[in-house]
């Protein structure tokens, strides 16, 4: 057991007051009136509009670029091409070990292009339309090269190599071996073998695409980036060295961000191009990524293939673990990768008590858009895999899917539970959540509904899915990929101050994209200072110059309720203590404990009549501080607190250690009906039960569950990014990439339980990602429905109508991938 995280901290009882209540959101008033400020809303005098020239080829050598015609166009301010970028910047820092570490990635393509949509040049002009006109005048000569599309063929002899410097399409490979898999095989009564499972490429496609206005100050050499990047901490680490500039020369500012879901983390290449243009042209430059650019050139979720899967099973349905080969497709560049090669290990056994795990993991580059974090990053693929294992084993051994889950679930009384690779699941009651979810869809009555559907010629199926939102990363896990990396732990910052007129002002280090940070922070602060959320002003958005920014600042990976609110709580407690100390002196109380904070006053506990309004406290320290006693010298009423979760550096030899602090979870149940003639299916009933520990704002938590469910259903039914054999992306916009609209979404039934985290001071857990559950629930329900019509096995995460029709037409093809053998 890793000693640092299993010693529970004191969990406070939910405070009387605002935490735990669904109060009105502070963000809403401006947003419902169209008064939000998103990236494309930022205006600067005389700014130039940037348009990128993008590659039509998936893989080609650039033989020449001629910008003269573009530059000559009336209204064009300037251009930028790869050669300039290569001269003015250094390649982006790579996280991997050789050969992946040798990949050279720049802000614009240098020498060759590696995916359709790769940026080749940039032009700046007086209007958006002119910039596009000019981009069309840039003459680029290409020499097409063979493409690599199938990740399983990327390492073949003779496969084209994307990055000559690396000399191979391999980004990273490693073996993860925990427990004793061979012993498990020997102990098992049966072994279920699955030749191939495949998780499709898709992305959460936030409705606001990426964008920025970048200004350069020649006097100070400082860039200000009004950008909707959702992880400035990471962007600055990537961009500073590339631009050969100090970190503090890059000022990130954002107010409202129109959704991120991880897709707005890896915009550093475009932002560097904008920085170079702003400096070269000495004028603010504006860039908006249009939807087609977003689909062809922005982060996609990792595609992953699981091969030669072996699952040892006991006669009673106890599963002892699994062994497989995993091949992960990173796309053309490793811009956040290979972190996806380890992030999944936060949830190695899924929800299950599997102790013996062996995975040979390989990540390759292909001529597709680069992958990056996407809601449920890397765990989504792995959790889908673990849930597929449960249901395929149950299906093949004719075990009940509910019974086999309950037999293999980690139990409430086993929490905190250490996984085979040293992660610690903090709390939870999976079986109870499952029972609640089953109740919501009327599981007991489903056999009658199945018969009724059959009478109409339809196939009814029910499926269960689950997700684990491992939140609050220990960045030390990066050292399991590359021991030389100097990252570990995590941090987030908040500043809480009392201003001259008694106004409580909170500054966060985060970059929310709809997660309601202003609201939940105000609830925590209000309870600790004895005021109301209306009395608490939380600054909207992010500014790295607010000095409320740390190395890992940002909004990603389900952690605000732990890191963000942890910092808010720490800073507020510091402020409360300073107010008490000040008031104790002014009111002549014996020490700070003689003072209580209530209703905007600091009062003497023994004499509530003796009270000092916050306004007076603020005024004294900020504007009327002559003659204060020396013991108050450190009282500023402006308190900055950095929250650091208790982590150790993992054991890089055994790839063992605690990778995340909290584990929120969801159980989903899906009931659907298939039309066997067409493969068209409709979701009739859907339930999601959530447990994210103590909920500061239940309505906001439920909203996250709704949204994650919609993403998962979209990925299961409609959303994927297929490429043809030339490497052309075939879902380049919302016309071909259908996202669920209001008529596509089934009614959702939700419920929640609270298993407070013993490791966080508020009992909260990060949550919000969760999408994987619904992808699997649909796969399982389809497999259940098809049982009566050929008994096909669902082996892909994405199952559009024609895929279901193929499973109905030719179930043998899928059945041939699965075998049960006596051990």
């Amino acid at each position: 057991m890793s000693s640092t995280t299993t010693a529970p901290e004191r969990v406070e009882a939910p405070q009387k007051g605002f935490a735990g209540q669904s109060i009105p959101r502070k963000e809403d008033r401006r947003l419902v009136q169209g008064q939000g400020v998103y990236a494309d809303d930022v205006r600067r005098h005389e700014m130039g509009y940037v348009h990128f020239v993008r590659s039509p080829y998936a893989h080609a050598a650039i033989t020449s670029i001629d910008v003269s015609k573009a530059a000559a166009l009336e209204g064009v301010y300037g251009t930028l091409i790869g050669e300039e970028v290569a001269a003015l910047t250094d390649p982006f820092f790579q996280l991997s070990v050789p050969p992946g570490s040798e990949i050279k990635d720049y802000a614009l393509a240098v020498g060759k292009v590696r995916f359709v949509g790769d940026t080749v040049a940039a032009v700046v002009a007086r209007t958006r339309e002119l910039a596009r006109d000019a981009a069309e005048l840039v003459e680029v000569e290409y020499e097409p090269l063979p493409v690599v599309i199938d990740p399983q063929r990327a390492l073949d002899d003779g496969a084209a190599v994307l990055h000559e410097d690396a000399g191979s399409n391999l980004v990273w490979e490693g073996t993860f071996d925990w427990g004793d898999f061979d012993a498990a095989l020997a102990e098992a009564d049966r072994v279920v073998r699955i030749d191939r499972l495949h998780f499709d490429r898709f992305s959460s496609t936030p409705l606001e695409t990426s964008g920025a206005v970048v200004e350069y100050d020649r006097g100070t050499g400082q860039w200000t980036l009004h950008a909707n990047n959702q992880f400035p901490g990471f962007a600055i680490i990537m961009m500073g060295p590339a631009l050969r500039a100090g970190m503090d020369k890059l000022r990130f500012v954002s107010q409202d961000i129109g959704g991120g879901f991880g897709n707005k983390i890896c915009t550093h290449p475009q932002l560097v191009a904008l920085c170079l243009l702003a400096r070269k042209l000495n004028r603010p430059v504006q860039w908006t990524e249009w939807r087609t650019d977003q689909h062809t050139g922005n982060s996609h979720g990792n595609e992953r293939v699981f091969l030669d899967v072996e699952v040892p099973v006991k006669a009673d349905g106890t599963m002892l673990g699994f062994r497989c080969k995993a091949i992960d497709d990173a796309g053309a560049y490793s811009r956040y990768e290979p972190l996806g090669c380890i992030i999944w290990a936060q949830v190695t056994p899924g929800l299950y008590r599997w102790r013996n795990v062996h995975i040979d993991f390989t990540q390759v580059v292909t001529n597709k858009s680069p992958c990056g974090p996407n809601r449920g990053y890397s765990r989504m693929q792995h959790l889908w895999f673990t849930e597929r294992l449960i249901d395929i084993v149950a299906h093949e051994l004719e075990l009940d899917p509910v019974e086999i889950r309950k037999r293999n679930y980690i139990r409430a009384e086993e929490m905190p539970y250490e996984t085979p690779n040293g992660c610690v699941y903090d709390s939870g009651d999976y079986a109870r959540c499952l029972d609640i979810a089953l109740g919501l869809v009327g599981y007991d009555g489903l056999e009658e509904r199945r018969k009724e559907a059959e009478s109409r010629g339809k196939l009814l199926g029910v499926g269960i899915g689950s997700t684990l939102d491992s939140g609050t990363n220990n960045f030390g896990q990066s050292q399991l990929l590359n021991p030389d990396l100097q990252f570990s732990g995590n941090n987030e910052v908040a500043t809480v101050k009392l201003d001259i007129f008694g106004e409580v002002v909170v500054t966060l280090g985060t970059t929310p994209q709809g997660q309601s940070h202003e609201t939940t922070a105000s609830q925590v602060v209000a309870d600790l200072l004895g005021v109301t959320p209306d009395d608490v002003q939380v600054r909207a958005g992010h500014d790295s110059y607010w000095n409320t920014h740390a190395g890992f600042s940002g909004t990603y990976a389900s952690q605000f309720a732990v890191t963000g609110l942890g910092a808010v709580k720490g800073a507020t407690e510091m402020l409360a203590d300073q107010i008490r100390r000040l008031a104790a002196v002014i009111l002549g109380a014996d020490g700070p404990e003689g003072i209580e904070l209530d209703g905007g006053f600091a009062k003497r506990v023994d004499n509530p009549e003796a009270a000092l309004p916050f306004m007076a406290c603020g005024a004294i320290i900020n504007a009327n501080n002559a003659g204060l006693p020396p013991e108050l010298d450190d009282v500023t009423l402006n308190c900055r607190y950095v929250y650091r979760p208790p982590f150790q550096v993992p054991d890089t030899e055994r790839k063992f250690g605690n990778l995340t602090l909290t584990y929120a979870m969801q159980i989903h149940v899906c009931v659907l009906e298939v039309d066997p003639e067409t493969g068209v299916y409709e979701i009739l009933d859907y339930a999601a039960v959530d447990d994210c520990g103590r909920r500061i704002h239940p309505q906001i938590v439920e909203g996250q569950v709704h949204g994650a469910t919609a993403h998962g259903l979209g990925a299961a039914m409609f959303e994927s990014f297929p490429y043809d054999e030339e490497g052309t992306p075939l879902a380049a916009n919302f016309y071909e990439y259908h996202v669920p609209h209001a008529l596509d979404m089934p009614p959702l039934k939700t419920d929640a339980i609270e298993s407070p985290s013993p490791f966080t001071s508020l009992g909260t857990k990060g949550m919000g990602e969760g999408g994987g559950a619904s992808i699997h629930a649909v796969c399982a329900a389809l497999q259940d429905a098809l049982r009566a019509a050929g008994n096909a096995i669902v082996t892909d995460s994405h199952n559009p109508y024609h895929r279901v029709w193929e499973l109905l037409e030719n179930p043998e093809a899928s059945r041939a991938l699965v075998r049960v053998e006596a051990s």
Binding site: P56, Y57, V116, E136, T292, T296, D724, E726, T728, P729, L730, A732, N733, Y735, E736
Partner: protein, 185 residues
Amino acid sequence: MRVAGTRTYAAPREQVWQVLNDPAEMAGLMPGVESFEIEDETHWKAKVKVPLGLGSMRMSINFEQTESQPPEHARLHAKGNGVGAIMSMETAFHLSEEAGGTGMQWEADVRIFGQVASMGQRVIQPIVNQQVQNVLNAIDERVSATQAEGGEAAPETGSSAAEEGVHPGSPEAYSKEPEGPTQSA
């Protein structure tokens, strides 16, 4: 995407060869060709405007004749540049003498790159068929015209889909029957 087909002309092989190897004249017959210039024996340039109802797709195309064995066989490579689209075509035809005329076997491998390829997968196939039909029709016209000039206007035994009153792109135009083009993606 590959398209291929066969046709028969009621004209001597040399005459058909002449038509097929007079690019300037051919260009003149093809719909949408705005300008055409011959650089040398084997290299030509054309600016075309592919009519697409809603608007026209402008392309500048460079042709290179890569093989030529009069009067039997020729192979052509064409590369076109348009807004959001790059077209690359490898095409060849083979002429054989047949009773009362000339048989032509032809094939074309057309590849489209760029935004258009992403957005138009569903429609590129039929659009290519439509353009192929236009070219075939142009050849038919030219062949019968030269026949007429040559005096006896013998009717053709072969025919283009359009002459059969079949609209380009309608199912017949896809059929694997020898008369129409066939394609494999």
